[in-house]
């Protein structure tokens, strides 16, 4: 089931990214970087699982999970912010040209 979804998502990704204009390749990279940090979801759930499941390695497991939460949080906020900054530069010009 997951494999089906995976293959279909690859196709969707392929056709969507082909449409991206070359001028916006830099924001494309930063936004994909930001959204790949969605793994923060898994990091959080492992911290919980370690506690609920009374794992023998609660400490190790929660530290690893928390470390991952920290790293991905930097990435999510940083990634979206830098994308926003870049895009506002591209979009800012549009309005200027209209004024001219």
């Amino acid at each position: 089931m997951l494999l089906t979804i995976f293959v279909l998502a690859c196709f969707v990704g392929y056709y969507v990214v082909l449409k991206v204009t070359p001028a916006l390749h830099a924001p494309l990279m930063s936004v994909t970087n930001a959204i790949s940090s969605v793994i923060i979801v898994a990091a959080i759930s492992y911290v919980f699982v370690a506690i609920i499941g009374n794992s023998r390695n609660v400490d190790l497991c929660s530290w690893l999970g928390l470390g991952a939460v920290f790293l991905t949080a930097i990435n999510i906020v940083g990634g979206f912010m830098i994308t926003k900054r870049m895009l506002s530069m591209f979009a800012g010009k549009k309005t200027q040209n209209k004024e001219k």
Partner: protein, 472 residues
């Protein structure tokens, strides 16, 4: 049960939002909204997965864990915010390499956590498929991590941008690759923590060895490749956590990076294998022999001469390259273009796919300087126009303008698509020195009849050109 459905639908909506975020990038107009879709997607994903926990069993242990997680996440978020606000647009390639390394390291942490969570409890063994997914997440994550750190160091100038090679490199890489496969298989069968950690360490080493031999000019490929890896690492984690959303996002990111790598490779007429194992290695000797005979016939030109030529031009195409980024000359270029435009000269910009150090690098810098979108053209759209152009100004670019790629089958870059700048009536080549580019290849353009070289820092030269023009 209801909660399960809620979280399924939430991740479905989040996936759609992520697809819309990428779709938005098809034009500058829709892209800002696209970015908002992306943020909404992450927010939904965070809420959606946590809903079951909120309602299911919110005992004291969990709520204190939740507080810790929140504190850590906010701390990370603030750091990310500061970095993204403060960073100079010129350092964008380094920043992205750094961000990729974080995704890689996080993927390693999560894979290890997923193993140690269960390890030692009643259900000691995973089925082999889950074990495979887990170890793959750790492997790809580790390679992404060290690879990105090396790429970061090279872009930042901490590590030399020159390819690092030694005898038998290829053999060692192949040997280590085989070891890695053997370790992965061993882990899937035995599932001991030692094997998992050994696999991770070996992957870290391989990531380092994989990127060290790659030179600065190939960085656009490397960055997009690492972008792709971070996606595949996400997929690995998605499979092992049995999370649809992560698999979808990982697939989107992975294919996106793969397409970018492909475009970059095409821009350099090289295959991915050649970039990794290197084909520029042998050109050092050949370029040295060139040096002896070649300091002939270079026409150096002063800013005054250049000002005179520019004054009489009707059309100008500016070709920016990495040198423009280093000198941060984009704002001065804009001033120069404005000065020319005020004299009714048409000014356009030609951007080669691999100009700079990452995909779209030049476009971002030109956008930062408020250069209108409509004046900026891609290789295929502008190449035919050089023939009808009075002046092509090459600023800090080199290999992407080298006519040897078209007519010298012996050249290492033969076959690479290049900008036909030599077809312009005059080429003004602004460059720090007569040295060869990152690929270490002589640019034949220097010795052409219609090429005028202006040596110096791109920013200072442009400043002088503006002064010269204004004086006239």
């Amino acid at each position: 049960m209801i909660l399960y459905y809620v979280s399924t639908y939430v991740s479905l909506i989040a996936s759609v939002l992520f697809i819309l975020a990428l779709r938005g990038l098809s034009s500058a107009k829709t892209s800002v909204n696209g970015n908002r879709f992306g943020m909404a997607g992450i927010a939904l994903a965070l809420l959606g997965t946590q809903i079951p926990v909120y309602f299911a069993n919110l005992d004291i242990n969990l709520s204190s864990a939740l507080t810790t997680i929140l504190i850590v996440a906010v701390l990370g978020g603030v750091i990310g915010y500061i970095i993204a606000k403060k960073i100079n647009m010129t350092s964008l390639p380094q920043l992205l390499a750094g961000f990729h390394s974080l995704v890689g390291l996080a993927a390693v942490f999560i894979s290890l956590a997923s193993f140690f969570c269960i390890y030692g409890t009643q259900s000691t063994n995973y089925d082999s498929i889950r074990a495979l997914e887990m170890v793959l997440g750790a492997t790809i994550g580790a390679i992404t991590f060290t690879g990105s750190v090396v790429a970061f160091g090279k872009l930042q100038g901490i590590i030399s941008g020159k390819p690092w090679r030694f005898k038998g490199q290829r053999q060692i890489n192949i040997l280590l690759g085989c070891c890695l496969i053997a370790l992965i298989i061993a882990f899937v069968i035995k599932q001991t923590p030692e094997l998992l950690i050994q696999t991770t360490i070996l992957s870290l080493v391989i990531g380092y060895l994989l990127i060290m031999p790659i030179g600065g000019a190939d960085m656009p490929v490397v960055i997009s490749m690492l972008n792709s890896y971070s996606g595949w690492a996400t997929v690995g984690i998605g499979f092992s956590a049995n999370n649809t959303l992560l698999v979808i996002v990982g697939a989107l990111v992975g294919t996106s990076g793969a397409i970018l790598s492909h475009i970059m490779c095409k821009g350099m007429n090289r295959t991915l294998v050649k970039v990794i194992f290197g084909s520029f290695s042998s050109q050092n000797e050949s370029s040295n022999t060139h040096d002896e005979q070649s300091h002939r016939n270079v026409k150096l030109c002063s800013p005054e001469d250049a000002g005179f030529i520019l004054q009489n031009a009707n059309s100008v195409i500016i070709v920016p390259g990495y040198g423009m980024a280093v000198a941060q000359a984009q704002h001065v270029i804009k001033e120069l273009a404005d000065e020319l435009k005020s004299r009714d000269v048409s000014v356009k910009y030609a951007i080669h796919p691999v100009a700079g150090r990452m995909p779209g690098h030049m476009n971002v810098l030109l956008a930062e300087a408020n250069i209108p979108y409509e004046d900026v053209f891609e290789l295929d759209d502008i190449n035919h126009e050089f023939g009808q152009t009075d002046i092509a100004i090459v600023i800090g670019a080199n290999d992407i303008t080298n006519p040897a790629a078209k007519d010298d089958p012996a050249s290492p870059i033969y076959g690479m698509p290049v900008l036909d700048v030599e077809k312009a009536k005059t080429v003004l080549f602004i460059k720090r020195s007569l040295g060869s580019g990152y690929a270490g290849i002589e640019n034949q353009l220097f010795y052409r009849e219609n090429t005028m070289m202006i040596l110096g820092d791109a920013k200072k030269v442009c400043d002088n050109l503006i002064k010269e023009l204004k004086d006239r």
